[in-house]
């Protein structure tokens, strides 16, 4: 199955695919949309003929879309998480502005698989152990994989040290270690550079540790949350080696789950959860997200 899928927000239009429980695109499917959303989407007056296609479900008026052809894709049931988990997830996946989460900030994620290129000066031991660590983390994410490549042109994740060829000109004057991330208008990360200052991290053990930190952070432009317990990577309390806790892994897995809408800003994320949770609570309906194949 083509993993390159784009997100189509089914939520907003409340399409419900019936007659089929299959997750794949079904042929005999009837699409319904709420009257309110029909007006918003199609912006044309409804005729008396249209009203023949009205269906009443749980006090909602739904319009059957007769000629609607949905693009090929995959429908994924909403992944429920409790509010305690969502609060901590939001604090890590979205950005802060002036001590409060920025409603307009967007979550970033990798759509394509990660292809890592190491500059020549990166130590063999560091390369080997970094890849082992990264593969182990990524193996827990269904929709992502990682590999090492030998040619820089085949890569989308470049690791180099100060003094090496400057792969990202925007980091030319950086004297500290950092990463630089590129994403598209869907908030999909498509290129990343890590530049490490080997004078500060003066042996392979220290460099490896720092690179592991950047790797986890770069899986989603994640922020540390200083309020969570120091056992967790996402607390930012790392001192020795990185061991991901259940919470850390769950946050990464959830970030890459297609049971949530991807690449949204915080405001949309919260609105979606509110609507989906209300549907669950009031109507006991588990809605789905439809992700179109690219």
């Amino acid at each position: 199955m083509n993993k390159s899928i784009i997100i189509s927000i089914v939520l907003y239009f409340t399409f419900q695919a019936v007659y089929s429980q299959s997750l794949e695109q079904a042929q005999n499917v009837q699409y319904r949309i709420s009257l309110k959303n029909y007006k918003k989407k199609f912006k044309k007056p409804l005729t008396s003929k249209d009203s023949l296609n009205f269906i009443y479900v749980n006090n909602d008026t739904l319009v059957v879309l007769k000629d609607y052809v949905r693009k090929p894709g995959r429908s994924v049931p909403y992944e429920y998480k409790d509010s305690t988990f969502l609060d901590v997830y939001k604090s890590i996946a979205f950005k802060y502005a002036n001590d409060t989460l920025d409603k307009k900030s967007s979550m970033k994620y990798w759509k394509d698989d990660i292809a890592v290129y190491f500059s020549e000066s990166v130590d063999k031991k560091v390369k080997k152990e970094f890849m082992s660590f990264a593969k182990n983390v990524v193996s827990q994410i269904d929709s992502l994989s990682i590999k090492e490549v030998k040619k820089v042109e085949d890569s989308n994740y470049i690791i180099y040290y100060n003094g090496d060829y400057e792969y990202e000109s925007r980091m030319n004057k950086y004297t500290f270690s950092d990463y630089y991330m590129h994403w598209n208008n869907k908030n999909q990360i498509y290129k990343l550079f890590i530049k490490l200052n080997r004078d500060h991290f003066f042996n392979p053990t220290l460099r490896l540790k720092e690179l592991k930190k950047y790797f986890i952070k770069s899986l989603g432009r994640f922020q540390f949350n200083k309020n969570i317990d120091c056992n967790n990577f996402f607390s930012g309390c790392y001192t020795t080696d990185y061991k991901l806790t259940d919470l850390d892994i769950e946050i990464i897995k959830y970030h890459y789950s297609y049971g949530i809408c991807k690449g949204t800003n915080l405001e949309t994320f919260e609105n979606q959860h509110e609507k989906f949770k209300q549907a669950l609570k009031n109507k006991k309906v588990l809605n789905s997200f439809y992700h179109e194949y690219e």
Binding site: Y80, D229, G236, Y238, K284, L286
Partner: protein
Amino acid sequence: MKIIFKNIFLVIAIFAFTCCYSQSSDLKDYLKTDYKIYKNSDTLDIVFPKDSKKIVDKTVKTIDTTALHFLNDFDLFSNSYFLKKYKKLIFGLDKNVIIHQWSGPVIVYFDKKIPKPIIEDLKVFINSFPNIKNLDISITNNINEANYLFKVSSKDVTALTEKQLSDYTEAQLENYPYYKIIHDWHGNKNYKLYVSTLTISQSFLDNHTILDNLKKVFFISLLQAKGYTVNDDTSILYRKNKGFKTLGAFDIVMLKYHYKTIYKFKVDFNVFTAMENYYKKLNNE
């Protein structure tokens, strides 16, 4: 009259309780929250897409109140002399300074470019440190094991600005520990240090103050102190003390208090003051 006294007593008691409670509450705001995920421990009833039950996880959070237990016997707060000196050394006049600590072993490596007599002198100095709880310092000959590097730079390094360099006399500058030495460090988001580099200007290696200044910078770096002088003649940071081979008695006390506990939360001047007040309430001072 009795009733008036009773009322006054009641008001004082309420005030004391409120004050004490609010101070501990202030500190509780800084405590970390642990999140535990209980897998498949909750059930949601679903009608659509099909009548079923969906099993979901449950996240439970708890606040680590044990992080304040150390305050019960944090006797720095009952020693006004050392408390005053400690505050001045660590925070200076800057209330935004945050206490930084090493939470793991400090493993020192000396760059081979440093002259042997200097290395040997520094080794004697570091090895003379007494046992200090929560502060483990050792020296290694293998750079790959180290997290604290002493190295030489062929280019001159300084922590001073151009203006400061031109404003002070050579004698004044030589007494400033960071005149030709700099200290770079990395810490985590919990203000714990995990790597340090102490860089010495090559041109300074022959200076008669090199050893004193290196020892001072190393000592200050363990405290991440804002100050670099101390008005106590048992400290290596006392202006008149020169040519010391070991830490002074005052310095050991400072390190012992600094590492008495590894803070699990951010401690700046305000939090430190709240801790002090809370300690005093606990001990009815």
